[in-house]
């Protein structure tokens, strides 16, 4: 099989799928090359992410990583969510095929973009360095920026 059981489970029964009308932060990112798009919504109370949702246009692993990433940030502080790496998402899913790793990068970036949106909307100061366009450029060849 192409995907692990965990991936197939999160793909076929995605957690947290759907739009959120009263989101405190929304992040949308796209993969310029394969054309896929991921949008993550977060609800924040007292610096804790109380709810997260997503919608995704993309392959099985794009949907599965969105599902897993939103699961992993729920109940965490906003700062902890920023530390979520694509590697952690891949590990939680019991791995992805090599040519699908870039899909998990998309999930990490979507979460970051949602947090940045939350900071911006609420006038919270942050270190711009945290939100470079693509954090993993060095070890990811998803976009051809290298």
């Amino acid at each position: 099989m192409l995907y692990s059981e965990k991936v197939m489970d999160h793909f076929q029964h995605p957690r947290n799928v759907g739009k959120m009308d009263d989101a405190d932060g929304i992040g949308e990112v796209g993969n310029a090359v394969c054309g896929d798009i991921m949008r993550v919504y977060i609800k924040v109370k007292d610096n804790i992410i109380t709810d997260a949702k997503f919608i995704t246009f993309g392959c099985g692993s794009a949907i599965a990583t969105s599902s897993m990433a939103t699961e992993m940030i729920k109940g965490r502080s906003v700062d902890e969510a920023l530390e979520l790496s694509n590697k952690a998402v891949v590990e939680a899913l019991d791995g992805l095929p090599t040519h699908k790793i870039h899909c998990s990068v998309l999930a990490e970036e979507a979460v970051k973009a949602a947090v940045k949106d939350y900071y911006d909307k609420n006038g919270i100061a942050y270190d711009k360095e945290l939100f470079k366009d693509c954090e993993n450029c060095e070890d990811c060849d998803a976009c051809g920026n290298k």
Binding site: C34, I55, F57, G58, C59
Partner: protein, 396 residues
Amino acid sequence: MKLIYADNAATTRVSKTALDAMLPYFSEEYGNPSSLYTLGQKAAEAMANARKIVAECIGAEEREIYFTSGGSEADNQAIVTAALLGKRKGKMHLISTTFEHHAVLHTLQRLEKEGFEVTYLDVHKDGVVRLEDVEKAIRPDTALVTIMYANNEIGTIQPIREIGALCRSKGILFHTDAVQAIGHIPVNVKDDNIDMLSLSAHKFHGPKGTGVLYCKRGIMLTNIIEGGAQERGKRGGTENVPGIVGTAAALKESCDHMEENAIRTIALRDRLAAGLSKIPHSVINGSMEHHVPGTLNMCFEGIEGESLLLLLDAKHIAASSGSACTSGSLDPSHVLLAIGLPHEVAHGSLRLSITEENTEEEIDYIIKSVTEVVEYLRSMSPVWDELEKGTIKHVI
């Protein structure tokens, strides 16, 4: 639940007739056709008989039939042969189309590196190459025209007979990759003015790993595989006797029932096309006027093909897609791009390829399942969300 197989352009189930014909050649009549004793000669006879059947089915002579390891090898050998023959006369120009199979395209690309020049003809929005375009592309130094009989992804049939006649009148070799046509629509190498033709057994209920190169008498083939004297010295290697016998049996069966199978398959395909066309913002790819019976290719806006395939698989439907995410290369299918589809639309493509073995109930189940899955994926698609809000415009 029983699997509904709708990916016959990828490969087909081996028919009972083909399998029964093959079985004795594994452990009973297992001789090497080159051996002199009776066991070997029985295998040689079986092969000679198979060659005769294949020749009859496509209107060729027995000595014009070369058994290969499949469609890809036949494509390679035909193109390399024509290129080398051309080179000897200083003819270094080849003509093809943008939507050939990779067995053709990659062979041409290799020849380009070796100094050949290739013109890739446009296949227009309908997926049909124009005779005028071929005529305009022909130069005094053109060595070969290679154009597929029917396309594997969208199923469109090319004006092969007319192109063949044109090439013949200009003295240019003409090859066609007929892998998707043979066994499904009438093909006759004489009537169609074809010099070289590739076919592959596993696309018409024969076994995988066997194919045929038809090469018109008088054209000196270049070997791809050097070896013994098999296939008149043009293809080394002990012959795949069971495969060859199975190829002939499957081909004969397909040709004997071609008309009735086509009528049945077309009726099923039209039912499928009508049902799926009810999905909003969907489009059928390629002209339905010039079309093989079983293949239907559609795009659904706002969704991605790999997710669609995986969800259909969960519903026991086997199909394929030209989406970037399924290709492993991050680029959608070159065929869909060749007919002018934008990347984002090509992403949501679905190829269903059926046969006379499918039933109306299966077709209705496919329609229902695809409709549900497309609706579900759209409900979670940011692209569909923006299309609905009008922030981006519908293309189809």
